[in-house]
């Protein structure tokens, strides 16, 4: 269960990393915005994607309280104890400061209440006991892999004899006294055994979980992305008492990243989940994914679903005989720009096809003003979708009647993808996302080529996850 849950959240994080804002950007017909002057890019390798996840959010997803009840049979110092035990356990984690990796301590606290019966030398003893276990295991994720420390566990056990029955005629008092005298030794033995078992089980479970997670991540994320040269480079991993932070560079050797680092451009984000996306990350990703490709609507939807976890309904074809496809341009087929609160999306296509008919290539631009209001992300399109011929000469040339017809048709189709306004009530999350971890949008900035999106937990549990609290 641990491995599945952890995989789920990590894959979600990766999706967030790689996608950020899916199909929300755009441009305008009338110039209601101004495209800022292009920054002077130089080749460099500064990270262009930052992700921050609060410890609270991780706990909201992963932490759990469980109660189990089971019979037991244990032999301690030659005496067999039988009975039932009830285990109340809390699993959580905490993050710790680390500048070179993500340091996580997994915590497992349990209280085991049991009732037992034992018989020795014709003396029946019934007792009840309480065993408290506090276990932890530290994991450090570094760029080159996991560093795992052995689990630690401390235990205490205290029992109380609730009845002694001596089934012999002589030595009853001695037998009774002996039973009480052994209690302390038995408690010690129980505590010792519990600590050993906890450490062993904790180590084994985490080993299995990490191996499973690596395999799953390889299959579902790393391998597909690597095949298409889409896997971002992990530039930095670090953690604090309150969060983990990841920085990536989405660019291969011949691509640009950012000219300025995140810290220089924007204030640090403070959400439970935050994504800081430089436009180069998105543009490099889409270039590697789409350049020179001809994709039909359903193929594009499949790509978005596969790589970004998105399932845009707008791409589902409404008429199988009129399936749309886009022949993406070889360079910068789909790029975004973030400035002054505006997100501009530019699509370059060598051509389009509707059923068995073609539409010549065109450049589509659409601009959205993005904002967060009432915990919702709102996008308002600025003007119409601007569509001009790909081969247009002068910027201000009027287009001919044939292209005008084509762009009217294109506009009608793309207005389904780029509506005049859209509202997201919550960020996209994987299936089976726990209700306790529901997120809402808290802040959005689109400035100086960076898009910064913060989300907060919707529940009131902004306080640190309490180890003793109930969930």
């Amino acid at each position: 269960m641990w491995s599945k849950t952890l995989s789920r959240i990590l894959i979600t994080i990766c999706c967030w990393l790689l996608v950020a804002i899916p199909h929300s950007t755009v441009t305008a017909g009338e110039p209601v915005y101004e495209t800022p002057p292009k920054l002077d890019f130089e080749s460099y390798s500064l990270p262009n994607l930052h992700v921050g996840i609060s410890t609270n959010l991780i706990n909201a997803v992963l932490a759990s309280n469980t109660r189990t009840r089971a019979p037991f049979r244990e032999n301690i110092s030659g005496t067999t104890y039988r009975g039932t035990s009830t285990t109340d356990a809390q699993f959580s984690l905490r993050t710790e400061p680390d500048d070179d990796g993500i340091a996580i301590t997994l915590l497992w606290n349990a209280t085991i209440a049991s009732r037992s019966y034992s018989t020795t030398q014709r003396t029946d003893v019934s007792s009840r006991s309480t065993t408290r276990i506090t276990a932890s295991k530290k994991l450090i994720r570094q760029v080159d892999g996991w560093q795992v420390e052995p689990a630690q566990a401390s235990t205490t056990s205290r029992s109380q004899i609730t009845g002694v029955t001596v089934r012999r005629l002589f030595g009853r008092r001695v037998a009774r006294r002996r039973a009480y005298q052994q209690r302390t030794a038995v408690d010690r033995s129980i505590a010792h055994r519990a600590a050993l078992r906890t450490r062993s089980e904790f180590d084994r479970t985490i080993d299995v979980m990490l191996a499973s997670w690596e395999t799953d991540f390889d299959r579902r994320v790393r391998q597909p992305l690597t095949e298409r040269d889409l896997l971002p480079t992990v530039a930095q991993l670090q953690s604090t008492d309150e969060s983990v932070e990841l920085a990536f560079l989405q660019a291969h050797d011949e691509q640009y990243g950012t000219a300025t680092g995140l810290v220089e451009s924007v204030p640090p984000s403070a959400g439970d989940f935050s994504v800081s996306l430089h436009q180069s990350a998105f543009n490099n990703f889409t270039t590697n994914l789409l350049a020179g490709e001809r994709l039909s609507e359903d193929q594009l939807a499949a790509q978005l679903s596969k790589h970004l976890g998105l399932k845009p309904l707008e791409l589902l074809p409404s008429d199988s005989e009129k399936l749309w496809s886009i022949d993406f341009y070889e360079e910068n087929p789909l790029r975004v720009e973030f400035h002054n609160g505006i997100v501009i999306v530019t699509l370059l296509a060598r051509g389009f096809q509707i059923g068995d008919q073609a539409i010549p290539g065109a450049r589509l631009r659409v601009a959205y003003q993005l904002s967060v209001a009432d915990s919702q992300l709102v996008g308002q399109r600025q003007g119409r979708i601007e569509i001009v011929p790909l081969t247009t000469g002068q910027e201000n040339d009027n287009v001919g009647v044939r292209f005008q017809v084509f762009r009217s048709m294109l506009r009608r189709r793309f207005e389904r993808l780029f509506p005049s306004e859209f509202t997201w009530s919550q960020p996209p999350v994987p299936q089976n996302w726990p209700p306790s971890a529901k997120l809402h949008f808290s802040k959005l900035q689109a400035n100086d080529e960076w898009l910064i999106l913060d989300c907060r937990l919707s529940s009131s549990r902004t306080e640190k996850f309490s180890l003793n609290g109930t969930n």
Partner: protein
């Protein structure tokens, strides 16, 4: 005769109208079910044969130029390689010997997808010969696998069919006359009435009737090369208001090689794309002087373009906009309103039309058929300005100056264009040219043709041509208040474009046309037809009229006798 009739069927089929026959006097159509796809009848086969063989069309068929095609047709149309019997089950000579007068051939749907033919022959005066044919067919059917022909001889009617159930139905109708026959159907009767009223009382030799939509489906199965979605789109877009067509033909009359009167039956209100068929009565019958005398044909139709534009909008929405109504209107609005668009108000332009639409055509062996459409307008500069705005920034259209006029020429298909690439959305305008000149808007399928038309010096004028004047006189004499258009075809009755289309049809499985299974042995190759230059040697000039009636359009036309 069989060949001639088949050829006529094939020719008309390739036009999209095709063959069948009808006449209200003919009794044999009462044995045909009312859902017949096509029906071809003659009241007197012998007379048809003698009249037909006196026409230029027959001489064309007999000419050496058609020898290769004749051979292909002959081989494909035989019931089996070792007999002279045609796919219909009888030879031409047998048919002429047993027919006592009336003969009827119908194509009839069988079930959801199949088709069969039913040949009915009045043999009342040749029952013995007919009995012999029946016996031969029964014997052949019992010994030959595959092309089975069922026949019956009952009450002086010889029936032959490739579907047993059709024979049974015909016999049942023969014994118990039914109101649900083709003859009794409203479409058949109205088509017959209108055609008969136009043809007059003189005997006709051939009657035809067709359900155009069903026949197109049949033809598509028989000739995959002709398969097209456009018919289905047209039907779905409102053109199914056209229910049927049919007519009557006379051959080798005193004045004409052929006289043809036919009616397109389209009852009810025109809706959706059928609003394209928006015509007005033609008030003037004078062609402009600039039409050169060397055109093959001139058609003048008073087509209301403003109304037709609405109909085209429905067609556009259906063909290109996933059926979303109003798309075309939005597109027109964008063309006018978009700040960096052409800003041309196309609906307003259509209102500048001040006269009928002229259509000039000329066919040449090397360049195919060039058609120039011309519409008289009352503001030529505005049209010229609109053309400039629409095309001057279009890289696929270049401007060419001819004297004081600018011609806008659409680029042809690029040689390096990948044939597997999908065609560009919209009509294929490669090679088209447009121009506003002489108070006309010209749209030509060929830039060269338009250049010639606008170049100085002007060639001899058509309106001075004696043949044209003779044709005009005949047409004008027949005009009515309902006439919306007319046609004069000085050369080969204007049939060359249709003939070229027929040649381009390629392979047609004659057996499939009749409802038989597909077979390579039944394929006739229409590309073996000689080039269209052969037509003027045998086919004379022609003229035609179109009257718009309440429930359709009546066509009247004649082909003059060919003068050697």
């Amino acid at each position: 005769m069989r060949f001639c009739v088949s050829l006529l069927c094939a020719v008309t089929a390739s036009w999209g109208l095709s063959a069948a026959a009808l006449s209200r006097e003919l009794a044999l159509a009462s044995l045909v079910p009312d859902n017949a796809i096509a029906c071809l009848t003659t009241p007197d086969l012998a007379q048809l044969d003698s009249q037909w063989t006196a026409t230029g069309f027959y001489r064309l068929w007999q000419d050496d130029a058609l020898r290769n095609f004749q051979t292909s047709f002959h081989q494909a149309s035989r019931l089996s390689p070792d007999v002279e019997q045609s796919l219909l089950g009888v030879s031409r000579q047998q048919l002429l010997e047993v027919a006592s007068g009336e003969v009827c051939l119908a194509l009839i749907p069988v079930g959801e997808r199949d088709t069969g033919f039913l040949l009915l022959v009045d043999v009342s005066r040749h029952k013995a010969e007919a009995a012999q044919i029946e016996a031969e067919l029964r014997l052949r059917s019992s010994t030959t696998a595959g092309m089975v022909r069922n026949c019956f001889l009952e009450e002086g009617v010889l029936g032959i069919t490739n579907r047993k159930e059709l024979a049974g139905e015909a016999l049942e109708r023969l014994k118990n006359p039914s109101d649900e026959s083709l003859l009794a159907s409203s479409a058949y009767q109205i088509v017959a009435e209108q055609s008969h009223a136009a043809a007059g009382s003189a005997p006709v030799q051939l009657n035809w009737f067709i359900d155009p939509w069903a026949f197109q489906k049949l033809l598509t199965r028989a000739s995959p090369a002709s398969a097209s979605n456009s018919w289905n789109q047209l039907a779905a877009a409102g053109f199914q208001v056209i229910r049927a067509a049919g007519g009557m033909m006379r051959f080798a009359t005193t004045e004409h090689d052929m006289e043809h009167h036919w009616f397109i039956y389209a009852p009810g209100e025109r809706e959706k794309a059928a609003r394209l068929l928006d015509f007005k009565p033609l008030d003037a019958w004078e062609l402009p002087a600039w039409i050169p005398a060397n055109v093959d044909s001139v058609v003048e139709v008073h087509w209301n373009l403003a109304g037709a534009l609405t109909g085209y909008g429905s067609l556009f929405d259906a063909a290109y906009a996933e059926g979303i109504e109003g798309t075309f209107e939005a597109v027109l609005d964008d063309i006018y309103q978009e700040p960096d668009g052409p800003q041309v108000d196309i609906p307003a332009l259509t209102k500048l039309q001040t006269g009928p639409v002229l259509c000039l055509s000329k066919t040449s062996a090397d360049r195919g058929t060039a058609i120039v459409y011309a519409v008289k307008v009352n503001d030529e500069p505005q049209i010229a300005n609109a053309l400039q705005r629409m095309f001057e920034t279009d890289e696929g259209v270049h401007r060419k100056s001819i004297g004081k006029f600018d011609i806008w020429v659409f680029a042809g298909t690029s040689a390096d264009e990948d044939e597997s690439d999908a065609p560009t959305m919209g009509p294929d305008l490669a090679g088209y040219a447009l121009c506003a000149a002489q108070d006309y808007l010209y749209v030509s399928t060929s830039a060269t043709a338009l250049e010639k038309l606008l170049s100085e010096p002007m060639p001899p004028e058509l309106i001075e041509d004696k043949m044209f004047l003779a044709l005009q006189t005949q047409a004008v004499a027949q005009r009515t208040m309902d006439s919306i258009g007319w046609r004069v075809t000085p050369l080969a009755a204007g049939l060359r474009p249709l003939y070229q289309d027929l040649r381009a049809t390629g392979i047609v499985d004659l057996g499939q046309v009749l409802g038989d299974a597909s077979s390579d042995a039944r394929q006739v190759d229409f590309s073996l037809l000689p080039a269209g230059e052969v037509l003027p040697k045998f086919i004379g000039a022609g003229w035609g009229l179109v009257d718009q009636l309440e429930d359709g359009w009546l066509m009247r036309g004649s082909v003059l006798k060919h003068v050697e």
